[in-house]
Symmetry: C2
Subunit: 186 residues, 2 copies
């Protein structure tokens, strides 16, 4: 990518790319440029091509998520509370988190490594939360991670579709995650 000096256009492209690629991962670069309200040539003034774009999106997603999660976990008084605060903080970034689970992002080698690292960290947090009684030791960690991530994505969809505010959606997701749908309410 080029130097992102011209913020507005560059950011518009990045935002449009997240949005369009989330809706349709097969979207053409022209569609992304149009969605950003810029010309096709301008796209190539910022990104050398699809691969470059994907890399930028992936790195930005990793950074944003890491920062937000770190900040959220800072004030937590337990591992379970950290998971709660992280969930609340990440719901608005559900698009980013989802993008990283897609094939396009997974094929960026450095991203694979970064995700594996974040994954390992998250796993240790989960292990501590398990000792705190958040879930039984017989529940596979993979399932805990899977359902945690998917419920965050679901909460983000609720917000996107106007069915809930970010805080309402996060609350529904956390309640469902911890105590099931029976205790979930707005």
């Amino acid at each position: 990518m080029l130097n992102p000096v011209r913020v507005p256009t560059y950011d518009a492209l990045v935002e449009a790319a997240f949005r369009v690629l989330n809706k349709n991962p097969a979207a053409s670069l022209a569609e992304i440029a149009i969605a950003a309200g810029v010309g096709r040539a301008t796209f190539h003034r910022h990104f050398s091509g699809r691969e470059d774009l994907i890399r930028v999106l992936a790195f930005q997603a990793v950074d944003e998520l890491q920062e937000v999660a770190d900040e959220a976990a800072r004030g937590a008084w337990s591992y379970t509370d950290a998971l709660h605060k992280i969930l609340i903080a990440i719901v608005p970034l559900g698009e980013r988190q989802w993008f990283l689970t897609q094939d396009a992002a997974q094929n960026v080698p450095e991203i694979q490594a970064a995700l594996q690292k974040q994954n390992a960290e998250f796993r240790t947090v989960l292990e501590q939360a398990q000792k705190e009684g958040l879930f039984p030791a017989t529940c596979p960690l993979e399932w805990v991670m899977q359902s945690y991530d998917l419920l965050i994505y679901g909460a983000w969809l609720m917000v996107r579709d106007g069915h809930a505010t970010p805080s309402q959606a996060a609350n529904l997701a956390w309640k469902t995650f911890t105590t099931g749908i029976k205790k979930a309410k707005l």
Copy 2:
């Protein structure tokens, strides 16, 4: 599409398409053909092109899901039990269910209509289950549907990645859905 007389090749193409497009929605038709172990020309002997393929996949997904869900609900003694039995039955078809939520399938007009119909049916079942106490009246139906669908997809991923058997994964998903991760175990 042509008449699916020659079952093996046709089915191999359909299965490969579900699998490949689930992993990478931007996959080329050539990739799908290769994944099915057939030549590119043979693909075009069964499907006129991408659009045709998507239509066939979508219709098949709708039919399979409808049949499996109907059959599962038949022996249910309550609406809540129906949701439980449907979940168990659909987890192995998670790929199909997921495909229908993607942009490609959503752009098929007849599929939109069929999904809206299934959606309305499902909504009435949920309303009855709510009266049975499965979840509070203040919990948005959209969230119940969203989390139900996503947990099914998550369960399917657990099976796909070898982290659980279909019945284990379905059990984890149902427990998480109803009573939260705290009660989820293998």
